[in-house]
């Protein structure tokens, strides 16, 4: 399954990747991504036609959000709080990114199986 990811820095110099998945996101898939907290906002109860929204994270490692049933997953890597403008080197995140993407691929393959 092909996952497209577009890497950028957020406005506080943290690595942010927008993933576009081949299948819609649901709670079962999110549960397999290795987070330690999940907060779902049931927006569909407030507005007909709206999707529910999930914010989930692995404390101090990454923070992710997505519309449930959507295909876009936005993940910001690194510890909590803005980074100094001068730091510039995102390498401390590479291990966390690789681990997250391993989990993501495994979750998608399991879903397809």
């Amino acid at each position: 399954m092909r996952v497209q990811g577009f890497r950028t820095l957020d406005c506080a110099h943290k690595v942010r990747i927008r993933y576009f998945l081949p299948v819609p996101l649901d709670r079962a898939l999110l549960a397999r991504l290795g987070g330690d907290s999940l907060d779902v906002q049931e927006f569909s109860k407030s507005i007909p036609g709206a999707s529910d929204h999930a914010a989930f994270s692995k404390s101090g490692v990454w923070h992710a959000t997505c519309a449930l049933d959507g295909r876009e997953l936005v993940v910001t890597f690194g510890r909590s709080g803005p980074e100094p403008a001068a730091s510039g080197d995102p390498s401390p995140c590479e291990e966390a990114i690789a681990a997250f993407e391993r989990n993501l691929r495994a979750a998608l393959e399991r879903r397809a199986a």
């Binding site: 406005c11 407030s46 803005p82 980074e83 100094p84």
Partner: protein, 414 residues
């Protein structure tokens, strides 16, 4: 120990209050830009009011909250103060070492220091004026002393490139800041007189209900990462005090020219706020889930954002007129006016500067920013939106602070 935050939602006026203080959402871009504009203003010694404004709101809020909780002991009060500070996204403090004579306190997570580093890079001078004042006000409230019983020095700051943390020395004695008296809720409307307006295809009530139901509060380190920025649930009376004290200082020195000099500084901060926070909201997954499915026209994008603005604690915004060329925003209980009326009485000029900058920002993002393509919010994009030919400008037509029913801002192409 966790604290149930005594958040009061004034749904009728679209405001939030904690301990009688109106609280508004603003992001780290606005906080640092506004502070830098104030510090850069020539011939004004702004430190006494940047610190004093914070001491005042902290003292007023915590005094009320301690009473609401029946918190009598210093340890209990310190816990409440620390939790509120973290919850609001200002960072973290451990107040346990402070006593009635003051003491030394440090923080690794000061919002202003980290935000300043991220936005402007390192600065050798300490930047956490808000935290400095908050400490003085909080300690006075904790120990049942009058506001102004402590002085504080911000001896090292993480905003520089030397220290890994911020440190303060607080001592009992003559305050090194101005003393104010918070107007609390300010002078609000008795009842908002709402206009019959077209709301496009957006369910304003539903958006308000959904967004006010979200848990937007500080994490364990006192940060609120949301909508691509770092939010704070800040004191409306702090923003108003520092804004209007600078304006008054400039008027005192330069007469009417002072008003003319102050206005662009504050409107520009409003542009920065809109660009980053509104831009972040409209490109967020929350927007995709909650608001995007309702949008059918470009005008709906304006309505969708204004519906979200109504959940920021800024009062109630309505769109009275809207086209690709111009818009008129009517604002009931705009927090700048409410605070001005409570602090200084009726104004002889229009003072809703944040509202002007924010309103122009909405139109620039929607009609000039191709916001639906989720652009990156770079300095070049900011220049294009707010400085290039054809951008939208705001003019304030009415102002509640001048005794009018509501505030009106018209936005048009320049």
């Amino acid at each position: 120990m966790t604290l149930t935050i005594p958040l009061q939602i004034d749904r009728a006026r679209r405001r939030f209050l904690i301990g009688g203080e109106p609280m508004v959402f603003h992001c780290h871009h606005y906080n640092t830009h506004l502070q830098r504009s104030i510090l850069d203003a020539p011939w004004v010694d702004s430190e006494p009011f940047l610190i004093g404004a914070a001491a005042d709101v902290a003292f007023a809020q915590l005094t009320k909250v301690f009473t609401e909780y029946g918190a009598a002991s210093a340890p209990h009060r310190k816990m409440i103060a620390e939790e509120l500070y973290r919850w609001c996204g200002f960072g973290t403090f451990d107040l346990s070492m402070l006593d009635e004579e003051g003491g030394r306190v440090t923080s690794c997570n000061s919002h202003y220091a980290m935000a300043w580093q991220a936005k402007f890079g390192p600065l050798p001078d300490p930047v956490c004026y808000f935290a400095t004042g908050w400490l003085c006000g909080a300690l006075a409230a904790i120990f049942d002393l009058p506001l102004g019983s402590f002085a504080a020095e911000h001896v090292s700051c993480r905003a520089g490139d030397v220290s890994e943390y911020c440190a303060w020395e607080v001592r009992r004695g003559v305050p090194n800041y101005n003393i104010y008296r918070s107007p609390g809720a300010g002078k609000t409307t008795e009842k908002q007189e709402l206009l019959e307006v077209d709301e496009g295809n957006v369910d304003y009530e539903g958006v308000y209900r959904a967004l006010t139901g979200m848990d937007l509060s500080g994490d364990s380190e006192g940060h609120i990462p949301a909508f691509g920025v770092y939010l704070t649930r800040h004191f409306a009376n702090y923003y108003a005090r520092v804004t209007f004290e600078l304006e008054r200082a400039l008027i005192q020195r330069f007469g009417d020219v002072g008003t003319l000099a102050a206005k662009p500084l504050f409107v520009e901060s409003g542009h920065v706020c809109a660009f980053n926070m509104f831009g972040g909201i409209m490109t967020s997954t929350e927007w995709d889930a909650l608001i995007l499915p309702s949008l059918e026209t470009r005008e709906d994008w304006v309505h969708g954002l204004v519906a979200a603005v109504n959940a920021l604690g800024w009062g109630r915004w309505q769109v009275a007129e809207l086209s690709a060329e111009a818009a008129t925003f009517v604002i009931h209980d705009d927090y700048e006016s409410n605070a001005y009326l409570g602090m200084y009485g009726t104004s002889d000029h229009r003072v809703s500067y944040l509202a002007q900058g924010a309103a122009a920002g909405i139109m620039n993002l929607v009609y000039r920013g191709e916001i639906e393509s989720k652009p990156r919010f770079t300095p070049d994009f900011y220049e294009h939106l707010f400085k290039a030919d054809g951008n939208f400008h705001a003019e304030q037509l009415t102002c509640r602070a001048m005794g009018e029913k509501y505030t009106t801002v018209r936005v048009f192409r320049g």
